[in-house]
Symmetry: D2
Subunit: 287 residues, 4 copies
Amino acid sequence: MIRLQIAIQLDYEVSATGSDFVFNIHAAQTARQHVLDEQLTLSQPVAYRVENEPSSGNRLLRFSAPPGQLQVNYRATLDVHHFIGSPELIPEVPVAKLPPEALVYIYPSRYCPSDRLHQLAMREFGSRWQGYSRVQSICDWVRERTTFASNTSTSQTSALDTLLDQTGVCRDFAHLMIALCRAINIPARFATGIDYGADPALGPTDFHAYVEVYLGDRWYMFDPSGTAIPMGFMRFGIGRDAADTAFATIFGSVKTHAPVIDIQAIAGADGRLRQPFHCGRALSTDG
Amino acid sequence: MIRLQIAIQLDYEVSATGSDFVFNIHAAQTARQHVLDEQLTLSQPVAYRVENEPSSGNRLLRFSAPPGQLQVNYRATLDVHHFIGSPELIPEVPVAKLPPEALVYIYPSRYCPSDRLHQLAMREFGSRWQGYSRVQSICDWVRERTTFASNTSTSQTSALDTLLDQTGVCRDFAHLMIALCRAINIPARFATGIDYGADPALGPTDFHAYVEVYLGDRWYMFDPSGTAIPMGFMRFGIGRDAADTAFATIFGSVKTHAPVIDIQAIAGADGRLRQPFHCGRALSTDG
Amino acid sequence: MIRLQIAIQLDYEVSATGSDFVFNIHAAQTARQHVLDEQLTLSQPVAYRVENEPSSGNRLLRFSAPPGQLQVNYRATLDVHHFIGSPELIPEVPVAKLPPEALVYIYPSRYCPSDRLHQLAMREFGSRWQGYSRVQSICDWVRERTTFASNTSTSQTSALDTLLDQTGVCRDFAHLMIALCRAINIPARFATGIDYGADPALGPTDFHAYVEVYLGDRWYMFDPSGTAIPMGFMRFGIGRDAADTAFATIFGSVKTHAPVIDIQAIAGADGRLRQPFHCGRALSTDG
Amino acid sequence: MIRLQIAIQLDYEVSATGSDFVFNIHAAQTARQHVLDEQLTLSQPVAYRVENEPSSGNRLLRFSAPPGQLQVNYRATLDVHHFIGSPELIPEVPVAKLPPEALVYIYPSRYCPSDRLHQLAMREFGSRWQGYSRVQSICDWVRERTTFASNTSTSQTSALDTLLDQTGVCRDFAHLMIALCRAINIPARFATGIDYGADPALGPTDFHAYVEVYLGDRWYMFDPSGTAIPMGFMRFGIGRDAADTAFATIFGSVKTHAPVIDIQAIAGADGRLRQPFHCGRALSTDG
């Protein structure tokens, strides 16, 4: 069990016509991620609601903001109870055995057009031993070929672009890994959190995107960008790709400032501090 | 209320290694679509299951088939209770008021990259009166610009291709209309059924794809291909686009024959035959 | 006749491994563009050569530069003798009558994939009166739909992107217009020069890209970006699109500064200053 | 020296409005390809002309045909005098040393968007020994990864599609090899001829597309499809890609039948028959 304390500060300047916001910055509440306490503060007295998006369980914060400065603060303390498995014992699941809720994650999506990558994925990974290690090899392949570089991709960059340009940020690494997994019928989905443990040389603590792959009987975490420590990940949302898993979707003209984000491992109820570390085992925060 | 009787016959030759199948050819069971009776027959004694895909409610037929001939027969009788609205009274829903389950249908998907179409959709439809009539004008625009022609599109054809090539089949019309709606933040989804009332000159009765758009307080049907009679539509599945709403997804090498499909309006319990007809009102089969 | 005096200053920092340069910043020498004098200065004592690219006649400046600061200065005085035609008298040329050297300009190229735009161009322009006015209507259509905005496009932006995004710089306007012309078999090519008369609000005097279309018996100039005064254009190069008509192609790692460019109309031999102006007639500088 | 005799028969049905044709089915006349005799027969008494396209030297046959049956017959006897080099002695040419007429062949074109493939080409080939052998390894890489299959590509298929789909016909192999060469600044162009020596299992004798790469001081032939015997190639045309090197470009509605093509090595003036064979040396038919 890892206890994490997070703090997010988002600053906007809403233009004259006002804007509607949909955030996914509330920590997910799952069987393995317990939110102990959380606090949301808006700098403007707007009526907001927090709703569950039914297909994903993502918690959406929604409101309409009038013109002017807007600051959103979210703080939470949460316990992450990892399931820890042995990579060599975790098999892939034949399509015929996949649970129905995993099936949608083998289909192509906006940024993960896996139908275009079938031949390439078969060539690179088709003959590998099937199981967790094959997915790890996809993760390694993406990481090895792709250079992390800010401002090299846009909101239109798909996995095909990242395959060719070989550069991107965490979301691009995730899209490419997801697309390759789906291309050989392995369910893979997009997950969002915070880049716990990231090298400060890459910039301040930030939101993060990583991958969950369905293996054995659950979803396991992979971090193809390799920039952070997966054991320190907490989850905001899951989805097919960045299209349905954005931290913030804004309708209207808004000036956005860089987010200020903090994440710390803190001592648990027993007073012990368990620090996330790079570990070679298979991690899942799925139910 | 319309009572429909449908019959589907699908023929395959499964190659030596066997194949896994996922079908979505069971009539959806919704508040407005009652399945009175249904019957599934497989020509081989395979164990199958019918599962609900949780995010869509689609009913998935799944099984593994051994090599050899395979025939799938599905027959059903169902009552469709339409909600019928007055187009001029049906408003669009501001993003801030959309129910959370409708939100995912404003995001781009594999075949409906609506993020690429924002400027074009704003130019064409941005200044129109908002409401059902604006969506109808999108439907008409797609139909007017696009020619129905078999074998002009492939499994990789997206709404952008259809916009440029101006030709396609029902699925392509649907993708383009969906992408244009989403581009201006109107939730739109892909629905599958049978092309009731289609002109025989276009070929034998076939599966059909159409569009559902969230307006007022429910999803309304639109048929941008204009090839069939929406009042005669029954629903198999709904989804973001053809990627997650396929009639059949086949894993393994299979030779496929053309489906043999029949749909008839039949007399209801009161002995009256209510025949679907082209009607200028707004139709919904959503709960 | 317009006499123009141009001055170009380009500054680079060549990295440790040195770089090869190919410039196309020498004024073209054609039957209608006479270079009276010109002067090239390089801040480093490198051996350079100026060569004619045979298929285009473009004059290419080529050299290898060692590491360090590099400044390239080019100055020229030239007379442009326009052919001035009456738009209403200039016909399109049937494909069968096109001279062989114009044929290549009806084929698709990297940034002008006209094969993808045939249907759209036919719908928009197919039934218009054929002649200069149809080409003008393509030019107007592009200008009306597209917003000039710096840094909205990249070196990968094609005419299809500009069609969708409806924003770009002069090169993007030119690509879209060229692609639409070729899509209906009208030869169109990319031309480069300086944006004489551009609104200073768009930034300092800069390189410019415009379009030449083969009509009647020669190539006529069009400026779809509408940012400058065509009568003040001088020509560096022509080509199929920006791929083969770059001002500078650099092989190796180089830091590039913004160019400093000046263009002035000056008095001719007779002491008279003829100032370029926006004129409604058809202009050609083609031989 | 190889003496070749070729015969081409093309059959069309021109629709009611007539059609304009541009063919490139005349054997090129170059310093190393001598046309000894040739004969063109058209089944209709149309006025035609044969013109040189100036930038390529391709010989274009052009005419307008009235409605009805049209048969085009072209027969020629030609001598191909190969330059034969030793692969290990043929270097790549630094960009700074490329002749100006080769420069355009390092730029991207419609079907060879080499700008998109720079990273991938650098990864695969960037660190190889530079010279003929590196180009041969690109040729081998394309051949090894791509499956020859008719009707898997269309007139819109680019090198990126072939890279992903890993299937195509000779033109697709050529586009991918060209794009990869240009991506690392090696000039490469598209060449057309007849598939001398092709395996009859792939179909009857047909037109062929192959690649010429500028190395040392000339253009060398490569056949990435590997379906034919390069020593038996004669040249119709050269160009940037299939966009400007089509065998036939037809303007108007025409029904096209499969071409009937024959090519034979025949005895030379000395009575000796020199048969083309697969040879491991570098072949050029360039001046």
